[in-house]
Amino acid sequence: MQRLTHLERLEAESIHIMREVVAEAQRPVMLYSVGKDSAVMLHLAKKAFFPSPPPFPLLHVDTTWKFRDMYALRNKAADEAGMELLVHHNPEAMARGINPFDHGPLHTDMWKTEGLKQALDKYGFDAAFGGARRDEEKSRAKERIFSFRTASHAWDPKNQRPELWNLYNARKAKGESIRVFPLSNWTELDIWQYIMAENIEIVPLYLAAERPTVERDGLLLMVDDDRFPLEPGETPVMRSIRFRTLGCYPLTGAVESTAATLPEVVQEMLLTTTSERQGRAIDKDEGGAGMEKKKQEGYF
């Protein structure tokens, strides 16, 4: 008898999910956001289809406001996996110069929510893998692994398909699509343990280093390039910081930390008293229902 560990069981489940999608969908794609969850999801895809490269492209719905380190790793990771990398920029957001400093919530809506819908429509993808986990946020805890979307990309939380055993219903009409979450049952700790066990490359920003920062609205922001408009009297201060999640650099709060190795990061995580999305401005809109509302509108 060989007792499988929780990581082995999670890995087997994620691989099974990815293979079901490839077998049943016409044109799958993997949403790749360059974060640690994306890194794990990509690694699992490589394992699922080895020795073939994963039989689908990677899609990055870019906002042009990601950290520079993220762009560097994105291109390298796609190359190493032998996968096509598609990068989509919402042309309207581009033309209007939408940015997180001047446009607030509109920034996320146009670049990410609208950008994602455009990209899925443009390439005709009928199944899109996303790295969301159920432990991240309350409405995600209730979403299916195979989450059905109407032709206009809407999610109806009241009308989800029952999902029994490991039998996934991937059938849909033309124009409809599914979002698939192979990491649904992973927790933040599982992700870190797996990254260590499998030696997966992640963006260095997850590890502490001296970086230029300013403090604004209770968030510690990193000044990643010269597009960051400093307010009168503001000067970047070097602080030892790292990030628990990565998004657009002007919207992602850092934590002060000296954890420069993975075990130290996990150590801090286990001893910490705030949740990982706490540094994200996005969840705070619309009271507690912010994420659920965004998802109904098509946000991943």
Partner: protein, 641 residues
């Protein structure tokens, strides 16, 4: 204020984390994983219990706690105290109504195990969510309010948990704080439950007196409030109970093939999740249903070849011989392969608002097999409150019954009792693609190998060649009085003059003979179309051009007939006449009778007509004469040929 988290060793030890993280991580790399569900009636305190488990295992962070405290004051039901339920009730609608309406998954870990909890609703109408949550669980925690005892819903949840094959049942007698922690109350409830459990076949269960709100007997036992209790705490029990997955390793090897891995001509691997048993290079295997045998050459992974793989692992196998094997096949140990059959008795849980229609074709997915299947009229429905067997014509949302299922080709299966992976299936509506039912195979009704297809010496191609034509089925559909029969007759005459061998099957005529035992209920109308479809297929096999004129109002049945025929031979002709026009014509006086209520289930009046979405031919009878319509049909048909 709530009781502070226990400093109990079952949870992560801050000291070790702080002092020696590497050692801590080594210890925690290899935890087991237990999946369980919690179920109970609306106010049994499920969400509170789960909130408590998360809180005690420090899965709740300060920012979440701050939000929780604010929410508790605003909408909480516990006065100024923290309402744990708010943590768990995820969706906005539920937060307002104060009930859980869908399955939510929660995660926590102790020093020994990681846990995934499916929080399933207690509301009467949500049986389907509980079945969903239970399908992946190793254990069920059945909550009972100590003040109320065993309720109808307690029985229902226990029956469902047992039906879905959960071997470990915990009876958590909750809210003990509200009955003064009295032993008598606990004993009475336990005894009451034991009687019921025996009736439905639950062999044994573990009863624990708890208070989710106060924390008694959750992490340690006995609590100072229940000195009379000598069993484990809830957490202690969850940490030690056997995990179902490991039991699967003891059975014969089976791996449903998900995907054939073929990066180049030199490599051909078969990928899948091992359902049971174990496998090693050199083992003799059989591909089912073909029955071909070979041996395993290697077990390929990105981290190197494995010498052995077990149930629960996702692997890629290469085989010694080049044999036919693809998705939907099962690779099994050679000397004990699973059975193959096309008729089963199954327990079925109906999950959709639209009730079961006996005889209608649904997609059936079992492991990696997807086939067309029909469900007969149920043998009985189970009243899940009393466990009585009731006569039933159909199964409605949230009802459970036993029925015969027939698949259009033999599938590889095992009894659900022996294998969740090869015994559990879902049914999918062919039009809406909704998952409408979950099924569990009890046994096969006959082995498919007893009913062979007789290989025919003269093939359908040879029949058709002799007639110098391509067989086809022109399937006319439309409202009563739309002009189907008129146009169909003109089409046949035209084809006949062109020396084509045709046959017209007309709705009214067929009901005088072949289908005279059928009425006009939805089920009978479906059987009517199924028979006509089969006859049309036989005639097409004989090389004929078949013309049918039936209202055939349901899309699913037309698609069923389409699926019976080779690609391109089914030509759907929609005789599109608006209801007002057909009713105004009323050649047979039927609309009048239907309007007066003398005719029941009349299409267009009190029974729906589902228009074809993409018919091969659409005839607008308000814009075309019957002769023009017939010309168009014939031209299109010959164009197809």
């Amino acid at each position: 204020m709530v009781d502070s988290p226990t400093a109990d060793p079952v949870y992560k030890t801050d000291a070790l984390i702080a002092e020696d993280i590497e050692t801590y991580l080594d210890l925690h790399q290899n935890k087991g994983l237990l999946r369980f569900i919690t179920c109970g009636s609306v106010d049994d305190g499920k969400s509170t219990l789960i909130g408590r488990l998360l809180y005690d295992s420090k899965m709740i962070f300060e920012d979440q706690l701050a939000a929780l405290e604010a929410d508790s004051k605003r909408v909480g039901t516990q006065g100024q105290e923290i309402d744990f339920a708010l943590l768990v009730d995820g969706l906005a609608a539920e937060r307002e109504q104060g009930i859980t309406i869908d399955v939510a998954y929660r995660f926590f870990a102790t020093e020994k195990r990681k846990f995934i909890v499916a929080d399933t609703p207690g509301h009467e109408q949500y049986t389907r969510n509980m079945v969903t949550g239970a399908s992946t669980a190793d254990l069920a925690v059945i909550l009972v309010d100590a003040r109320k005892g065993v309720l109808t819903q307690t029985r229902r949840h226990s029956y469902l948990a047992h039906l879905i094959g959960i071997r470990h049942i915990v009876l958590a007698v909750n809210k003990m704080d509200l009955v003064g922690y009295e032993r008598e109350t606990f004993d009475e409830i336990t005894e009451d439950y034991a009687g019921f459990a025996r009736e439905i076949g639950i062999g044994n269960f573990t009863a624990i007196p708890i208070s989710g709100f106060k924390g008694d007997n959750i992490t340690t036992a006995p609590s100072s409030n229940t000195p009379w209790y000598d069993g484990p705490s809830l957490i202690q029990h969850l940490e030690t109970v056997e995990i179902a997955g490991t039991a699967d390793q003891g059975r014969s090897f089976r791996m449903p093939v998900q995907w054939v891995n073929r990066p180049n001509l030199d490599f051909r691997g078969f990928s899948g999740l091992i359902a049971s048993g174990e496998i090693a290079p050199g083992d003799a295997v059989r591909v089912v249903p073909s029955g071909k045998t070979t041996t395993v050459k290697s077990i390929v992974t990105m981290n190197g070849e494995l010498q052995r793989a077990v149930a629960g692992q996702s692997v890629t196998l290469t085989l010694e011989d080049e044999i036919d094997c693809s998705r939907s096949d099962v690779i099994a140990i050679a000397d004990d392969p699973p059975q193959v059959a096309d008729q089963f008795e199954a327990s079925i849980v109906w999950l959709n608002d639209e009730a079961l229609i006996p005889g209608r074709g649904y997609w059936l997915k079992l492991a990696t097999q997807m086939v067309s299947a029909t469900v007969a009229e149920p043998k009985y429905e189970v009243n899940i409150n009393t466990m009585e067997h009731l006569a039933a014509k159909t199964l409605e949302l949230n009802s459970i019954g036993v029925a015969e299922v027939t698949t259009d080709r033999p599938i590889v299966f095992e009894r659900y009792e022996d294998s969740r992976q090869l015994g559990g299936f879902i049914l999918i509506d062919k039009i809406t693609n909704a998952t409408v039912a979950a099924g569990m195979i009890n046994f096969s009704l006959r082995r498919a190998q007893n009913v062979h297809w007789q290989a025919l010496e003269i093939t359908r191609e040879e029949h058709a060649n002799l007639k110098n034509q391509k067989p086809a089925v022109l399937w006319f559909t439309g409202l009563s009085g739309s002009g189907k029969s008129t146009i169909a007759n003109l089409v046949e005459k035209k084809l006949h003059r062109m020396n084509r061998h045709t046959f017209l099957l007309d709705g009214d005529n067929v009901r005088h003979g072949l289908n005279k035992d059928l009425g006009f209920t939805e089920a009978d109308r479906i059987e009517n179309i199924r028979r006509v479809g089969e006859v049309a297929r036989l005639m097409a096999d004989a090389g004929l051009i078949v013309i049918t004129a039936f209202i055939s109002p349901f899309r699913a049945e037309r698609e069923m007939v389409r699926a019976m025929l080779p690609e391109g031979e089914f030509i759907e002709v929609h005789i599109d006449t608006p209801l007002e026009v057909a009713e105004a014509r009323d050649v047979k006086g039927l609309y009048k009778k239907a309007r007066q209520g003398e005719l029941k289930n009349f299409t267009g009046i009190d029974s729906p007509y589902e228009e074809p979405e993409k018919p091969e031919i659409r005839i607008d009878t308000t814009a075309m004469t019957p002769q023009e319509a017939a010309d168009l049909v014939v031209e299109t048909l010959l164009g197809f040929a």
